[in-house]
């Protein structure tokens, strides 16, 4: 038996101290990582992340404290009361859950952070002192209350810092792994500082065991290693699953974005088609007129009893031609109105320009605009989606036509030009209007920016995203007479995304 009132001298097992710090750092990293998942997910997934995350973090914090305590060697056998130990684990998990809820809130004000960190700090301090209360040893534990107070303050301060850091990382900024690791390092060391301050606050005076020993268990060094290994595994799993989940999320987001973009482009196309109804009616009614006329002519010939077979043959041949022509117009419009994944094919951009010119011809004539084409011969083919490229051209051409409606002092002319440009083709659409307002030039490609009374301001922004998805560029050229829009399309199939 050790004599009377002299305090027991303890010593630290340094490798175990190091292990405890490592676990503290790992738990911190997991906390920062999991905060992001809890914030990014909703509903059941969020609840799962919250429960799983707080369990992992709680185990981490708890293990850190126990390993830190086990690293403290006293000259008497120390056992632990396992129900108390379990209680401290529960406190650790609740504390972690609380922290995750705090950082996943939409906003975090200073007051909120202060209250949160005060509660969290007290929770961690509680975990620590409950853990110490689980110690069963033939000694009496006395506390230096100044050091206890300091350890609680440290716990609160550390919680505050952790909450802010977690709040920062929860939005999962890109390439943040190193900064996250640095923050985890700081947090882990701070947690350890709190723990060892708390340990230092205790002095053990030899005495007969006063507490209930019935549930006490002793933990060997092997046991310590076991706890550490299990804890690190849990934390590692938490971080890994968070990583995997984030990947899937990012992919889903990308997919959703592409889908939205396609949807938007489709809606814009329908809107444009709405503006073009007159043109479309015209393009279909023209061949139909010829069909009806030729049909009537043929009927008359037959009714006459002595039809001129050569004339009859010509009329019927024209009926066939015009029927085909009308159906081609309809399938072109159908393609424009259809929803569908972009379909990249090799195409002749001049052909696309000519098809668009047919669709907008009527619109141009109504506005007194003459459309001139200056198409380079022998252009290399480009890889692209016919419908999307038609959409871009229709947009630019209609914009040009509308810009010239009020023009009275010079001819209203729209020039569509194609040319070869290094390893790309360059398409220009130029009107003879008053040009772009220099103050607006910077904004015209922004979504919802429009200069038209009835415009929704999506045309140019969608056009630009379409051209960019083809690996090209769409921009305006300042200083030209009238507005000049041009875009490139790469001719090298490999550079098309």
């Amino acid at each position: 038996m050790i004599s009377g009132n002299a305090a027991l001298t303890g010593s630290y097992d340094l490798p175990q101290v190091a292990l405890s710090v490592l676990i503290a750092i790992s738990a911190s990293y997991a906390a920062l990582d999991l905060a992001g998942r809890v914030t990014a997910t909703r509903g059941r997934a969020q609840l799962t992340w919250l429960i799983g995350g707080s369990a992992a973090m709680g185990i981490g914090i708890w293990a850190m404290h126990y390993i830190g305590m086990l690293a403290f060697r006293l000259p008497v056998p120390v056992e632990y009361d396992w129900p108390t130990a379990l209680l401290s684990l529960l406190v650790g998990i609740l504390c972690s859950a609380f922290a995750l809820v705090v950082v996943s809130r939409r906003r975090m004000g200073l007051t909120y952070a202060l209250i949160g960190s005060a509660m969290m700090g007290c929770g961690i301090a509680a975990l620590h002192y409950i853990a110490m209360a689980a110690m069963r040893l033939p000694a009496e534990c006395r506390f230096d209350f100044r050091l206890v107070a300091l350890s609680v303050v440290l716990a609160v301060v550390f919680s505050f810092a952790s909450l802010w850091l977690a709040f920062y990382f929860r939005d999962e900024p890109q390439n943040s792994a190193w900064r996250k690791l640095g923050s985890a390092l700081v947090m882990g060391v701070a947690t350890s500082a709190m723990h060892y301050t708390g340990m230092a606050a205790a002095t053990f005076i030899p005495a007969a065991p006063a507490l209930d020993q019935s549930h006490a268990v002793s933990i060997s060094s092997l046991g310590t290693l076991g706890i550490a290994a299990a804890t690190l595994q849990v934390l590692g799993l938490a971080v890994l699953s968070s990583l995997v989940d984030r990947r899937f999320d990012a992919q889903g987001l990308e997919l959703a974005l592409t889908e939205t973009r396609l949807e938007l482009a489709h809606v814009a196309r329908i809107a444009t088609m709405g503006e073009l109804t007159a043109s479309i009616a015209h393009e279909i009614n023209q061949p139909l007129t010829a069909v009806v006329n030729n049909g009537n002519f043929a009927l008359r010939q037959v009714a006459s009893g002595a039809p001129n077979l050569e004339e009859l043959r010509e009329a019927i041949a024209e009926i066939v031609n015009d029927g085909t022509r009308a159906s081609a117009v309809i399938s072109r419009i159908r393609a424009l109105l259809q929803k569908g994944a972009p379909d990249r094919v090799e195409l002749d951009i001049n052909e696309v320009i000519q098809e668009v010119t047919i669709l907008v011809r009527h619109e141009a004539t109504l506005s007194g605009v003459s459309v001139r084409l200056d198409l380079a011969a022998d252009l290399p083919r480009v890889l692209g989606d016919r419908v999307q490229l038609q959409q871009v051209l229709i947009n630019l051409v209609i914009n040009g036509i509308e810009a010239m409606r009020t023009l009275t002092d010079r001819p209203r002319e729209l020039l569509v030009k194609s040319a070869k440009n290094a390893d790309a083709v360059l398409i220009q659409v130029q009107d003879s209007g008053k040009g772009l307002d220099p103050e607006q030039v910077g904004r015209i490609f922004e979504p919802f920016f429009t200069t038209k009374p009835q415009g929704i301001g999506m045309g140019l922004s969608i056009s630009r995203s379409i051209i960019e998805s083809h690996g090209g560029r769409l921009w305006t050229v300042p200083g030209s007479s009238g507005a000049l829009f041009q875009f490139t399309l790469p001719t090298d199939g490999n550079s098309v995304s």
Binding site: N285, L288, T289, A290, V292, N294, E318, R325, L366, S370
Partner: protein, 209 residues
């Protein structure tokens, strides 16, 4: 009057529509001439015969409606039948107000077009006849002496020879000579006939003093 074979002019920028109209109109025995633009039509040498114009609203360079206006300004009074693949009410109203014979939406019923063409040719015939009559009258009027031309309006206004003599300061006898001369030269059977001719030629009639 030596009536020439009527002719239908068609201006439409769509060649296949153009050809089909030609076939259809040709099948009822009318002569047809096709043009791809208003400009082509203006530059063509049009025969002196009753005619009408089948005009597409949408034309390259100038709209059919503007072209109608331009023709009127140039004093070319050819009856116009508008055809359009996409017409609206304001367009129709404008065309009809400006004197169009008919406004047909493509694809039109053949009978509608043929009826409109008949009506348009009727109108042109009547107009040409009127024009021809006036031309004859003008010719006769030109053959009058200055004094006879001076007397004519007074005769038309219904004055007696004596009153005319007073009005222009000459003798009743010489007025009577002028009067019978101008009635003969104008080939007027009666004063009423002369009044009708003066109206056609647009000669102002003085008020009785």
């Amino acid at each position: 009057m030596n009536e020439r074979a009527p002719i239908v002019f068609v201006v439409d920028d769509d060649p296949s529509v153009r050809r089909s109209i030609k076939r259809l109109i040709g099948s009822v025995g009318l002569q047809v001439e096709l043009f791809g633009s208003a400009q082509e039509f203006l530059l063509s040498k049009r025969p002196d015969a009753p005619s009408c114009l089948v005009l597409d609203i949408r034309l390259p360079g100038i709209s059919g409606l503007d072209f109608q206006h331009k023709l009127a300004e140039a004093n070319i009074h050819i009856p116009i039948i508008f055809i359009t693949a996409h017409g609206d009410i304001p367009m129709t109203v404008r065309a009809m107000k400006a004197g169009a014979v008919e406004f047909l939406t493509k694809p039109f019923r053949e009978q509608d077009l043929l009826d409109a063409i008949q009506l348009a040719l009727e109108r042109d015939r009547a107009r040409r006849q009127g024009d021809a009559e006036i031309a004859v009258l003008r010719e006769r009027f030109e053959s009058l002496t200055p004094r006879e031309r001076e007397v004519l309006p007074w005769v038309v206004s219904g004055l007696l020879s004596k009153q005319i003599a007073d009005a222009i300061g000459t003798s009743e006898a010489s007025v009577k000579v002028h009067r019978s001369q101008l009635m003969r030269k104008m080939a007027a059977d009666s004063v009423a006939d002369l009044v009708r001719m003066a109206e056609k030629m647009g000669i102002p009639i003085p008020k009785k003093p």
